[in-house]
Amino acid sequence: MNASSTRLASVIAVLTLALAGCVGGPATDSDTVRARFSADPQSFDPAKLVGSDDYYASRMLFDTLLRYDDDGDIVGGLAEDWDFDASGGTVELADGATCTDGTAIDAAVVAESLNRFASPDTQSGSKILVFGNGDVTASAKDSNTVEISLSEPFSELDAGLTMVASGIVCPAGLEDLDGLSSGSVPDAFSGPFTLASATSGVEYVMELRDDYDMWPDFVSRLDGRPPERMSFSVGSDVATNANEVLGGSLDVAGVSPTDTERFPNVALVYIGEQYIVFNQHDASPFQDEDLRRAVARTLSGEAYNEVTYAGRSEVEYTMGDSGMQCANTDEGLVEEYDREAVQAEGLLEGVEMVYSASNSFGPNGIGAEYVYQELSDAGAHVDYQIVDNSTWASLVLGPDAPSWDITLFGTVNQTNTLWTGVSRIMGAPIEDGGRSMSRADNPEGEQLADEIMRTTDQDEKCATYQELQQNFLERVDVVPLTASVEVFALADGIQYEPPNSRMDYTAVRVAD
């Protein structure tokens, strides 16, 4: 090699080193757990939560009166005791809870926060799941007791008050609602963490409060210590998340269910449920129960689970998972899978239908694709509309009833109740101000749903729920498929046991 080629080689070598060699590896800090939001939280106002990451962030910042424990039972959060019936009830607050600025969380603070959440002026989309359809009044009976009155019967109040949307906002937050939404009011928080910094698209840092001592018993029992700080970067690519956990630049991140074998340490989190819903409007072919039954026989929960979640989710036999209170686990109530018979008998041959689905189920929308393929194989003429989540929601949850006939529906079940799903097929239709998207004519089911809303005895309620589930499963108003799950990969030294398999970053622990 002559002198000039040596010089050239040296230049290239130096530049290569400058680009790749002279940098350190991934940074680590045992006090900070590095996690990832899939998208920027759209609001830090618990009443205004929309996306999954909104819920995850607010769960860290705001405590609720009640919570689910690791067995799926409702336990106290800020509340020590409670007594509800279908028209409301009272809540006794635990001692010692404070806001970030030291303000005591007494009955007046709680009542003010709940009234603001339930007010029509707040326009919270979650209010109906926490308090039902009617008007709500919360008042301080004494400094430690909150009284809640509901104008319409609603027996799911205890489950509703576990929902982070009902999280208690401290007075400083209520005085500056814009700041509350943007996360810029540090004294608004009642939960174990505060929002130390929020840089859109880049990083959200939550810091553990020194003075926080309201951990529920089941969280207190977790091994390890809560992280002093959690730093959330933002990114939606699960493959990159997996690479970063393996590469050491992330500690907790959502990964694809098909990727889990790369990790020794994963946590499975239930988000909600997935099922087929039929729109039974006047012009829909699915006013015919036989057609609904034929569709149910062509679809297999096991097969759906395999293609969408690599078999890692749970096949469901109602609009909830087996751990949900009052959920049906009797496989016999669900239509038996027999696609060959449906095809041989030509039950769906030539049936025209509009099938609307979101591409968010499984990798590249494979879940929606599975349903389409089975319907097509059965001879149906399917107008297949696979769109992104926002477009799907506009189509299916909008007022234009005839725009679709059948959809693959996925709930984000924050209350962890059957009611979240049931209210989508019972009661007033969407265009009349209700939640029902099925528009089914089911007076017997409506009667049972009404009874459930008036029943507070748990055994009686579950018995009625069982009747109701039998009702809508026999009518095939829905075809249950699987639970919606997310898989989180964990780095070495991180422990995470999601309480009741529901997402809650406050249960993340660092093992020393």
């Binding site: 929309v50 989309g125 933002v234 990114g235 590469g247 949850l397």
Partner: protein, 341 residues
């Protein structure tokens, strides 16, 4: 042949006293910059109209996306009213234009103004794209000219072959595949660099390399071809006849002649690099404008979509204008418009 000066004087010469015209007005540079300014203004107007129009074509209901899937129709309608989505199209357009000139670029349907969001995100995209551009220009000229000199007159044919093969193969690999390969090598296998995110300074390395390595290969091939042609030219032979040193020949006489053609193509290449940066951001979960606009599309945050695409479009236009200015500075023949030339 018509000179540049006579053309300019012909355009200005009617009815205006010569003493009232500043000396610089008639210069080729003044006309050149005026044309470029016109291009800038027209591009801006075009982009404003296009960015406003495209959101009208996006399916789905922005009010439903903002209110959430559990919101009742009443809440969705109230949200629509709050976001101004019930206003007539002409009124929304005027609001959009007003927001542009106010500097806010509008208010996000989520949090804050669009300009605030761009101010946070843009540095991440611009640092990566800018570093890639600099690296591309520097390395492409070093590699292109270097390989040409080393392989001149049939020497080191193995190097010429290797250069052609390696650069062709790397250039043919899409940016997202290059990014993934780099992650596998440097993050997962060697463990020396983070696989994604932007939490630490070393996070910048892989995105920049992924983005720059393709253009380095394609531009260095162009530089090499131009340099080979230039080395055959009479003026190079003349300089060698004068027995000037190699350094003087290559730096003073060869390089300026190679730069002109390469810069012309690099304008298009560098604009494309902005697009490549947006793809790269997805691979590396990079918090730049690309991920911002993708998220905005998914959540139907119209003002962020409009504002971000407008800014990115203007950056691409400005890069091309700067390249034209650089070309004109290197070679004054570029001061003429194409029709004059």
């Amino acid at each position: 042949m018509t000179s540049v000066h006579s053309t300019v004087e012909g355009r200005l010469g009617h009815g205006v006293p010569q003493r009232l015209i500043p000396a610089w007005v008639g210069t080729p540079w003044a006309w050149f910059l005026t044309r470029k300014l016109g291009t800038l203004v027209l591009s801006f107007v075009f982009l404003v109209i296009v960015t406003f129009s495209i959101v009208l074509l996006i399916p789905g209901d922005a009010a439903r996306a903002a209110a959430g899937p559990d919101a009742s129709l009443e809440v969705v309608e109230a949200t629509r009213q709050t976001l101004g989505l019930n206003d007539p199209v002409w009124q929304r357009f005027l609001t959009y234009v007003g927001d542009i000139f106010s500097g806010t670029l509008g208010t996000s349907f989520r949090v804050g103004t669009v300009s605030e969001q761009i101010a946070v995100r843009a540095p991440y995209t611009l640092v990566v794209a800018g570093a890639s551009i600099v690296i591309t220009l520097v390395l492409a000229f070093i590699l292109g000219v270097g390989v040409t000199v080393l392989t001149r007159n049939g020497r080191r044919t193995w190097l010429a072959q290797a250069f052609s093969w390696v650069t062709a193969v790397i250039d043919a690999v899409p940016v997202y595949v290059r990014g993934t390969l780099l992650i596998i090598l440097f993050a997962l296998t060697l463990g020396v660099l983070p696989a994604g995110g932007a939490q630490q300074p070393s996070s910048y390395v892989l995105p920049i390399v992924a983005l720059a390595i393709g253009p380095v290969c394609s531009l260095s091939r162009i530089v090499r071809r131009e340099a080979e042609s230039a080395l055959q030219a009479n003026y190079i032979r003349t300089t060698e006849g004068w027995r000037l040193s190699g350094r003087v020949v290559y730096l003073k006489y060869l390089l300026p002649n190679v730069v002109t053609a390469a810069l012309t193509l690099s304008g298009l290449m560098l604009s494309g690099m902005i697009g490549g940066a947006l793809v790269m951001e997805q691979v590396f979960s990079w918090p730049g404008l690309g991920t911002s606009v993708v998220n905005a599309i998914l959540t139907r945050d119209y003002p962020v979509i409009q504002g971000t695409i407008l800014v990115l479009g203007m950056v691409a236009v400005i890069i091309n204008i700067l390249i034209d200015v650089a070309l004109a500075a290197v070679d004054p023949r570029h001061l003429q418009s194409r029709s004059d030339a």
